[in-house]
Symmetry: C2
Subunit: 323 residues, 2 copies
């Protein structure tokens, strides 16, 4: 196991990513873990600034996430939504009463001049989270899904239309001008950095938006540390969400190999599921090392075990030269 002075940068979207982050947090001190969160899904809704992936990460690390739904808080009440419905308001994006407080407080912090990074840190700290969660950017970068029906904003596509429209491509509006958040950059440039971990979040919708920020991509390349991903495709299917559907629609092979091809050069290692061992050789032929493991994280034990695999794989890839 790695020493307690090494640090890890984890690129994460929501649910799937947060599971691995929770496993890593179980194996590392809070201060060893720096999460860079996708903010491409962020949007303003009924006047509230909503950062779905940041919130899923905070709620998950705080032990407050609703595991049944995969979003929001457990033990929620729904008085606000019920009343909003009576008032003719928009209710397609479900916000629990406690969740509304998160967004109200985030807006208050932003209105008082906080960056999204500062606001995130304040909210996370208030809920007892001791792991740094950095927005990929404090500026606005928004994921657009191009579909055969035209371009759609992420939440429009994902929540309102339930990922039904056929996708043809993706854009991360604003990414080329956006700088990453200072905390994220610092984490990627830290001497203590041992590896960069890409969680099994959706590559197109959760990880690519993060990598679309030039600062982040450049810092990852410059740091020379191993980059390890966990494949979100298991046995030709996505664990959750529209990953497989999107891969198919946009012409990728729906397999661990397809994931390896998508990430390509940036990866040093890919953790694939035990049942995908047949893809190992083809992936390694691309110059990407492969580790097989159980990647389906149902229990806390699963999460921690996968974290162990990722951390020892990273140590192996660094040739034992951990900081």
């Amino acid at each position: 196991m790695p020493g307690t002075d090494t640090s890890y940068v984890v690129l994460s979207g929501g649910v799937g990513g947060a599971k691995l982050v929770l496993g890593l947090r179980d194996r590392l001190k809070g201060s060893q873990l720096q999460v860079i969160a996708n903010t491409g899904d962020d949007f303003e809704h009924i006047g509230l600034p909503i950062s779905p992936d940041i919130d899923t990460l905070i709620y998950t690390l705080a032990g407050l996430a609703n595991q049944a739904t995969g979003w929001g808080l457990k033990d929620e009440s729904w008085g606000c939504m019920a009343q909003l419905e009576k008032l003719g308001g928009e209710t397609w994006f479900r916000l629990g009463d406690q969740d509304v407080a998160t967004h109200l407080q985030r807006r208050e912090l932003l209105a008082n001049g906080c960056s999204l990074s500062d606001a995130t840190a304040t909210l996370a700290r208030a809920l007892g989270v001791d792991t740094a969660i950095w927005p990929m950017s404090d500026q606005k970068v928004r994921t657009v899904i191009h579909t055969i029906d035209g371009p759609l904003d992420f939440q429009e596509y994902f929540v309102r239309l339930q990922a039904q429209p056929v996708a043809t491509g993706f854009d991360y509006t604003g990414h080329s001008a956006a700088r990453t958040s200072p905390g994220a950059l610092q984490a990627l440039q830290a001497e203590s950095l041992a590896a960069i971990i890409l969680t099994p979040s959706n590559p197109w919708l959760s990880i690519d938006p993060i990598l679309s920020i030039n600062d982040i991509k450049n810092a990852i390349t410059a740091c020379g540390k191993p980059v390890v991903a966990v494949s979100p495709i298991v046995g030709g299917k996505a664990i959750k969400g529209p990953t497989a559907k999107l891969m198919q629609e946009t012409g990728s092979e729906v397999s661990a190999l397809g994931i390896a091809k998508h990430y390509g050069d940036i990866l040093d290692g890919l953790v694939i599921d035990n049942q995908d061992i047949a893809h190992r050789d083809a992936i390694e032929a691309m110059g990407i090392k492969v580790k097989t493991a159980n990647t389906i994280m149902l229990t806390q034990q699963d999460k921690s075990a996968l974290a162990d695999v990722v951390l020892s794989f990273a140590a192996e890839l660094s040739g034992g030269n951990l900081p």
Copy 2:
């Protein structure tokens, strides 16, 4: 009783005013009643546009008001406030979960270009209210309480400091430039108008802000219809809130006579409580007619009975020349 074609304009603040409005609604059709609401207490709080008196009127007329607290909705839940407290947010102004929805939807309507009048009408209609509630102005007019500790915004004074500071005077910032809302003006200029009713709300904090709008004062004078008030002082005490304390601090006699002196010329009639009959002659000597009644509205019956007194008094004052 008046005919069903006559209309009444009622000037009202929150709780005390809403009680009489409810009584009047019991005796009149919804369309006969036009309420002009104080918006001097309005403020923006954690990014939400809050209109306390408008909301109390809507909630009361919708049968949804929390009678125990005198503000907010009955059967509320408090998940949002509880979470906001955990997050270090501001919780001195208590907003129930359903109440938050009202403010979110109001903001959404305002952000989409609605006037406060339009937003109020939309919210009221959604909750089944068939009585028009007009903001005294669609523009920002804010009540400032001058105290020996300096000037205070209304909610600062009333909620946060619980009306403790000693008041020295009042300002209605923005009133001289503000126009009244088109609906309020139309109501005051209607041919069907039978009388103008000043509810037993706090004269300084609820009624004077309305009268500080020149359009309203001028329209009341111009229409020549009887103006009838109900005294909020009973037996030298205010039914509720800081009215008596404010009267004392600012040098008024705490009595029905003090109320008559404060309103002065604008009044044609004043309904005082049975127990204040000793003040009748002094008030009538000022040229203001007096009617005595039970003005303490505990039950719906009390409210409707007081409404009857006010309506027949108005008819009497108009010399039988109701429209």
